[in-house]
């Protein structure tokens, strides 16, 4: 970092942000129960943004451009690219904005229980735990990949910010397969910032069960309107709508009309009213060094804080709180059993569930759903798709009493949506 700061000074750069990322990972790849590949990866890179203040027609403007530099690059090459980026910044004629100021911190350890062990040991321990759950008679792990990564991040800016933190994460994916009565599979990914041995075992167990159920499913749902339960990993995807619409960048562009102090869920709400908190994934914003801390996003459906890049926060006149990736929501009032007492469809696996924050539409192809008839009977269906609008659905959402904890979400494990269009047979 000292070398980069010296080179910036030699180039006469007055305003800058630099993020240094030193990364190491250990990776294991399995096919069935056998190791198929072992890998290690190391890199040390700097992301540098230089800013150039100018006047145009009497107005102050601030241009900027970003470059990516390797630690091993020669001084002359780095200086040359810094000067090129300063030249590029001349053509970026954006309204002036302020960068976040003065944040200082020694390296904050965000590794939790992943501290104190080598990455090799963590990878081996985690993979062993995962495979200990691969003990079903009919369904099994087809393939499994795990990446254990350590990142030392330091952010230094010309505005007297100098913060650093270290993270460790375990992420990866697996495919579960069941051959009888039909040969089917289920894809699943995972990410933990703690040694989630029990969590991966539970995820594998549940995924094997879903895969066995899908192997039995032959019929598709009938086309029509359904009450739909979404659960587990699909809940944060759906509720990403709020995180995106509360982003200063979307508001500045006019894509989102969210305003602080206004009820963004609407007034005629028949379901649960949303209370959402911004959650913390890293100690500091990796681009500008803002300290990240839990803050309210929605209280009773009313928007309290807008997050996002400092430029857009400045443009729309809100505090620069940084960009958040995680939300926390309190448990709802309806148990999942109660949800399933009605005639409804609980979709537990999509080929790819998507939420478009701009249009508010969500949808996906159904790989497995449980169809409840409201009289205690349940059947499995596969195929067809759902296509709904969260803009209308959010007024009638019911949140489950049961909760879940994922890297980017803590909150109700399931949501009940009413009157959703299903394309089927």
């Amino acid at each position: 970092m000292d070398r980069i700061l010296r080179l910036l000074k030699e180039c006469g750069i007055k305003t800058y942000t630099v993020t240094s990322t030193k990364k190491e990972s250990v990776e294991l790849f399995f096919i069935k129960k056998n190791v198929d590949m072992r890998r290690m990866n190391r890199k040390n890179v700097f992301s540098i943004t230089v800013y150039k203040d100018m006047l145009e027609e009497g107005k102050k403007i601030r241009g900027f451009a970003s470059i990516l530099v390797n630690e091993s690059d020669a001084d002359d090459e780095i200086k040359n690219r810094i000067m090129q980026s300063l030249d590029s910044a001349k053509y970026v004629k954006n309204p002036y904005f302020e960068l976040p100021v003065r944040e200082l911190s020694k390296e904050v350890d965000c590794c939790g229980d992943l501290s104190g062990k080598s990455l090799d040991e963590i990878a081996e321990e985690f993979a062993s735990a995962a495979y200990s759950a691969d003990c079903d008679e009919k369904a099994f792990i087809n393939s499994f990949e795990v990446f254990v990564t350590e990142k030392h991040v330091r952010v230094v800016t010309s505005e007297e910010t100098d913060v650093s933190y270290v993270t460790r994460e375990i992420e990866g994916e697996f495919v579960a397969q069941c051959k009888e009565p039909q040969d089917v599979e289920t894809y699943m990914d995972f990410k933990y910032n703690f040694l989630g041995k029990e969590e991966i075992k539970e995820l594998i167990k549940n995924t094997l069960q879903v895969t066995k159920d899908r192997a039995k499913a032959t019929a598709g749902p009938k086309s029509g309107k359904y009450d739909v339960i979404l659960s587990d990993r699909y809940v944060p995807v759906l509720l990403q709508f709020f995180l995106d619409r509360a982003n200063a960048g979307l508001i500045y562009q006019g894509f989102s009309s969210f305003k602080t102090g206004e009820n963004v869920q609407g007034t005629d709400v028949n379901g649960d009213v949303f209370d959402i908190t911004y959650g913390v994934t890293n100690a500091f914003d990796s681009a500008y060094g803002n300290k990240m801390e839990e803050r309210p996003m929605l209280e009773g459906g009313v928007l309290r804080n807008i997050h996002g890049a400092p430029r857009f926060s400045h443009y729309i006149g809100v505090p620069k709180i940084g960009t958040y990736e995680k939300v926390k929501i309190p448990a709802g009032s309806m148990g999942m059993t109660e949800m399933k007492n009605r005639k409804c469809m609980h979709i537990v696996n999509f080929s790819d569930f998507q939420m478009d924050p701009l249009s508010g539409h969500f949808g996906g192809e159904i790989r497995l759903a449980y169809l409840y008839d409201g009289e205690g009977n349940v059947s499995v269906v596969t195929g067809g798709s759902i296509n709904g609008s969260f803009l209308s659905a959010m007024k009638n959402v019911r949140l489950s009493r049961e909760t879940e904890k994922l890297w980017n979400y803590e909150g109700p494990k399931a949501v009940l949506l009413t009157d959703i269009s299903v394309a089927g047979e």
């Binding site: 290690m40 451009a65 495919v175 599979e185 798709s385």
Partner: protein, 471 residues
């Protein structure tokens, strides 16, 4: 002009050779893939102007692949010097070979290592670096401002372009190959708003080359604005099965997502692809012939893949019959087939998997106007948004932005949006009854393996007429 070579690769090649030499003293096979990629993105929108080097496309580093007693292991890094050579060899010997030692391992035979040596560069017309930031930003600003002048209902227009200049080196005992390429893409996206619902329509183009692609934006803008405004009156479709005409971009998504992923042969190794059981069988209408590889010049054209296999033009489906899949080196060893040049990495940091390159349906003999006239009631499907593969069960999930209604062989002017396409892949491919005599290709997107490992691909082909379930 030719794409220029990389100084990083040229200057460090003796060190890379020394590293491979040391590894070959201990291991039966060792190879090195070095990459020096530089990607720059420009955009002008209501967000302002942005010029930045792209994380996804800017990489400088190398990966070593070692064959150790029947198994493969890899080490990647972005720094190399004399001292580091011994450190890397030691890390492989003393650390990676001992990772998860308690496990059972898949065993492979050693890769064949034919003698090949060359240094090739692809052509480009307009070098982005010579064109300069000022001209590029000026052009994009003109597009951005032009959209609102065409219709006051436009709330934003993003004009963007990106290029990637890449140099690759592959070294093994018998191979010494260098290649230099550049691709460039350009996109215009126009946004309109109905109450709280934002609608968007986009058009993009790409070339194996430089900024010669940029002019597409000016030509495309009026049509993109018109379609974005039309979307304000779009309705939700009545779910059902319809006669449809897919535009080349939608055909491309079917080729890539619905079928292409299912013939990536690492999926055969894992027993994850139904296609493994249908080689030699009719999987599509006789009108369908599908290619992957360097049969066209697009964003995924190269001379050798990231494992040192020479690129080829692979015919996957020949007049409806599934002939073969596409294959990376390690899967080829597992299946005892020749790799097809489809071993690709997101970057030097990542593992190679079997990946598509330029994937497309050949054009046929039908005129587009005859195809439209043949529809009693159905839709033209255009502006694909996303898709997801299902190689095991050949389920289709694709989302398109627009279904344009056709009644009695004519467009009614009514459009539906958004649309989820579902169904069973062979049923859809066998229902193809007309294929146009014109074809278009686009490589402005990236392909993931599951939800990661993003690589540049292109796809496309002809307009096709098929029976498709929409919702």
């Amino acid at each position: 002009m030719k794409v220029k070579e990389s100084n990083f690769i040229k200057e460090n090649k003796p060190l890379f050779k020394a590293l491979i030499g040391k590894l070959l003293e201990k291991y039966e096979y060792a190879s090195l893939f070095a990459e020096d990629s530089y990607g720059k993105t420009y955009s002008v929108s209501k967000l302002g102007t942005n010029i930045q080097e792209s994380d996804l496309n800017t990489h400088r580093g190398f990966v070593i692949k070692v064959y150790d007693k029947g198994t493969f292991l890899e080490y990647s890094d972005n720094a190399i010097d004399e001292k580091r050579i011994d450190y890397i060899v030691k890390t492989i010997d003393e650390r990676i070979t001992h990772l998860y030692e308690k496990g059972e391992f898949n065993k492979y035979k050693a890769p064949e290592d034919e003698t090949v040596s060359f240094d090739k560069s692809a052509d480009m017309k307009i070098d982005p670096e010579e064109m300069g930031d000022a001209s590029i930003v000026e052009y994009l600003t003109k597009i951005n401002k032009g959209a609102a002048k065409l219709d006051e209902r436009v709330i934003n227009c993003t004009a963007m372009t990106a290029y990637k200049r890449m140099s690759h080196l592959f070294l093994s005992k018998n191979k010494d190959m260098t290649q230099n390429f550049m691709w460039t893409q350009a996109t215009v996206a126009v946004y309109t708003k109905r109450d709280e619902e934002v609608k968007r329509y986009m058009k993009s183009a790409s070339v194996l080359g430089g900024m010669e692609v940029l002019n597409i934006l000016e030509e495309a803008l009026p049509e993109v604005v018109k379609c974005a405004v039309e979307l304000l009156d779009s309705e939700q479709i009545e779910p059902g099965e319809y006669d449809c005409i897919c535009t080349p971009e939608t055909t491309g998504m079917i080729v890539h997502e619905a079928f292409g992923h299912g013939v990536e042969m690492d999926m055969f190794v894992k027993d994850r692809a139904e296609a493994k059981n249908t080689i030699g069988e009719m999987v599509a209408s006789e009108l369908v012939t599908m290619h992957d590889g360097n049969g066209i010049d697009q964003t995924a054209t190269f001379f050798f893949d990231d494992e040192g296999t020479l690129a080829s033009d692979t015919i996957i489906i020949d007049h409806g019959k599934l002939v073969t899949g596409m294959c990376d080196l390690q899967s080829g060893l597992a299946l005892n087939v020749k790799p097809t040049g489809n071993g690709r990495r997101e970057s030097y940091e990542r593992k190679a998997y079997t990946r598509m390159t330029n994937t497309y349906f050949e054009k046929g003999t039908d005129k587009l106007e005859d195809m439209i006239a043949s529809i009693d009631y159905g839709f033209m499907l255009e502006n694909p948004m996303s898709g997801m593969e299902d190689p095991k069960n050949w389920g289709i999930q694709m989302m398109v932005n627009v279904a344009r209604e056709i009644k009695d062989g004519k467009f009614t002017g009514k459009i539906f949006s958004p649309i989820v396409m579902t169904g069973y892949v062979p049923t859809l491919l066998k229902s193809i009854s007309m294929v146009s005599d014109e074809a278009h290709y686009n490589g402005s997107g990236y392909c993931g393996k599951g939800y990661k490992e993003w690589v540049k691909v292109s796809d496309g082909g002809a307009y096709i007429k098929a029976r498709i379930r929409l919702g």
